[in-house]
């Protein structure tokens, strides 16, 4: 039998029994839709957490901090040794002193930090308003600072755009070498606010490292971002740094763990959706069995005019796959429709109450393709047993069946 003829013969049910065929497809569709909506919710939740993380270089970086024991301390020599490790591409340090920041007549406690532009990329810091330092332009940006959203709260500013371009002043508590005491140094300079980061919790102001080091002697660094060449080297480099006595965390690990948790969440949601799917698959199986009984006579006739058992089997199975496949398409249409509708609804509500827009349901393309393939397989499974029975019927008994 030719493929074209198989397609023609196995789509007859749309003509002979359109209502039942479409209802079966709808039944499958509802089951699939349940899976799509629930798993889509899982993807959405995962996205909500992880979309804040800037991927790319962030995942290739390790965060190195001083151990609590202070047995080793990040200093210029250590940084140089990190940079010498083969698999390390770059090292970008962060220095941090407590300081008082004055803005618009108010003064508050912040941490004044100094970094190079690459640090932002390695640690995944992004702005909500304004801009960060650019690579190689730190010199021109010497008299500008970037402050965190958390710091704005300190000054009671709700809208980050209010402060961009405004001036702030600092008084810095410089730690004395080898002692716990600090010395208060006033920076007699106005710094223009260049950008505001989206970090809500930290209260910090960041200036270019060149400016920082021109003002203060830097004995040790607070933190360093170590960028490795490839993700495969993350573990090796981490082990190397840990061996030197530092505490090292990698964002990629965190992301991995979060992803694992969400895989679990998705699996749980998929099980609930799967129950709906099983119910509709049983319905479809039932329909295929009824179809078999209805067509018993026809099967007998086909067998006696030259149709082989495998011809009969192929016709039944392909009919079931078509119904399953269309059920998958219908399910995706329904499921994605519901998800997008809820997204739109939530966003309308959120913007009405001044909250940020969120995407609660997400439907990645590979997932949808998988669902279509999966529904075809479910169709196949519901069709294969009736098909086998049909093929095994004795043609004469089948013809006499009324």
């Amino acid at each position: 039998m030719k493929l074209k003829d198989i397609a023609k013969l196995s789509t007859r049910m749309f003509k002979t029994n359109p209502a039942r065929t479409w209802l079966t497809i709808l039944g499958m569709g509802v089951g699939i839709a349940a899976v799509v909506v629930l798993v889509g919710l899982g993807f959405g939740l995962q996205g909500l957490l992880l979309e804040k993380i800037v991927y790319g270089e962030t995942l290739l970086s390790l965060s190195v901090v001083n151990p609590p024991s202070k047995a080793v301390i990040l200093d210029a020599a250590h940084l140089a040794s990190f940079a010498k490790i083969d698999q390390v591409k770059d090292v970008s340090p962060l220095v941090s002193f407590p300081a008082l920041m004055t803005y618009g007549g108010l003064t508050g406690n912040v941490f004044l930090q100094g970094v190079n532009a690459s640090y932002f990329r390695y640690s995944g810091i992004i702005t909500e308003e304004g801009e960060l330092f650019k690579d190689g332009e730190e010199e021109q940006a010497r008299s500008s600072v970037i402050i965190s959203k958390g710091a704005l709260k300190l000054f009671g500013i709700k809208n980050p755009s209010e402060v961009v371009g405004k001036s702030v002043r600092f008084r810095v508590f410089v730690p004395k070498e080898g002692a716990a005491e600090t010395e208060e140094v006033s920076l007699n300079k106005d710094y223009r606010v260049r950008g505001v980061t989206n970090d809500n919790s930290a209260i910090i102001a960041i200036m270019p490292l060149v400016e920082f080091s021109s003002k203060f002697h830097i004995g040790h660094y607070e933190k360093a971002q170590v960028r490795v060449i490839k993700s495969e080297f993350l573990d090796a480099v981490q082990a190397e740094l840990v061996k030197q006595g530092f505490m090292v965390t990698g964002l990629s690990k965190t992301v991995d763990q979060a992803n694992k948790i969400f895989k679990g969440v998705q699996a749980v949601l998929a099980v609930f959706g799967g129950i709906a799917l099983v119910v509709s698959a049983i319905g479809m199986f039932n329909t295929m069995t009824v179809t078999l009984l209805e067509r018993t006579n026809e099967i007998g006739v086909m067998r006696t005019i030259g149709g082989s058992p495998s011809n009969i089997k192929v016709l039944f199975v392909s009919e079931a796959i078509i119904v399953g496949f269309l059920g998958g398409v219908a399910g995706i249409a329904i499921g994605v429709g519901i998800g997008l509708l809820l997204n739109a609804l939530m966003n309308t509500v959120a913007s009405h109450f001044g909250g940020a827009a969120v995407t609660l349901f997400k439907f990645p393309l590979p997932f949808l393709l998988f669902i279509i393939a999966f529904s075809g397989i479910v169709g196949f499974l519901t069709g294969v047993f009736p098909a086998r029975r049909a093929a095994a019927l004795n043609p004469l008994d089948a013809i006499r069946y009324k």
Partner: protein
Amino acid sequence: MKPIIQTKELEITYNQGKSNEFKALKGETVEIYPQEYIILFGPSGCGKSTLLYCILGALPSSGGEIFVKGENIYKYTSDQMVRYQQSTIGIVYQSFNLIPSLNVLDNVSLPQIFAGVDSVEREARSKILLKRFGIENIAHKLPANLSGGQMQRVAVARSLINDPEILLADEPVGNLDSISAEQVMDTFEEINQKDKKTIILVTHDAKYLPYAHRVYYVRDGKLEREVINPEKAQIKKTEAGTTIITEVEKLARIYPYSSPDELRVKSIINYLTQKLNFEQLSRLEGVVKEMLEGKISGDSFLQKMITPFAQEGIGLTRSAGGMMTQKMKKMLEESRDVMRLRKMREANAPASYQRAFVRRLRAHLLDVYTGQVTPLQMKRFDEIIADRVYGITRKEDFQALLNLPLAKGGVGFGARTARAMTLYLEKLLAQGVPVAHEHEQEAL
């Protein structure tokens, strides 16, 4: 010449080993030759269809073998069997068995769809067949919109699409009206004659037997006998002296349900009681039927009676034929008085009108009586004629009353007269009174 189909001691047992075990075929040996037209004839449940489906390869044997074109089809693998059913055998069913969801064109080309034939090629072939059977105008209709005759012609076209050598037909006209049935039977004849296909047809209707070269009579799972059609040139070679066609073979076609012994009895009775032989009788039946239906006049009736037998007539002498014609005309005319009298009674016509027709009937009966009849006899006679025609008395009462002496309330005729008159009135009644089921049909 070698047979195209040969069964050897073929046995089929349904539900073998169960309490409802049933032997449908009890060791059949059949030989069918290429291009033969064979009819398997017998009452329903006799096993004739079972034999047909064995040849189709759809029934596993419980014993014995079938050879088709020299190959034992029971030794076929599943694939070989499919190919055999695709290319060697075509089948036509009583209930047409078209696929309701496919149009006529697709139904006809379905066997080729299974065989994987290209759509252009198979549709061209289907259209040729549809055109041949005069149904090309319905090619795109669904079976539900066709008449029975059209459906069966579609089924015949389907059976021929793969150009098989053998065509099987299971009661192919059992569900058709007589005109469609005749068309379909003629189609089979043509397929046998022109296309040189071997045809095996199952039927329980004796009127189709003349189509076949040979008829196998099947009863209770056994081949009772094989009857050769004397009107067809035989394909199966018979050596001179081994097969002789006797009157019993001819009688078998007139009385298909009788056993050979019963046919021999009929042959003797015919010899003892009738001047005409069976062929003359069957021709005479045909002519009388035409006369009764009013299709021919009395003159052409007479003409047929005296036309020599060799010229398709009945071959009576002029005097014998003339006498029969006259008798028949007289009887048919007089029987109308019975009809009129009954109608008057049904319509409650005045008694005097009814009496007039009773008197006429009495006159017809007295035509053959030479004696004198007294007024009292006539009065009594009229009464009992009326009672019999109205259905109040039975034939036996009528005869007894005719024979009963006047003193005892009868008419007082002699026994022979009474019997002759009763016989004649009964003949008139037979012609003049519609029988029960005719009444029903009129009511419908």
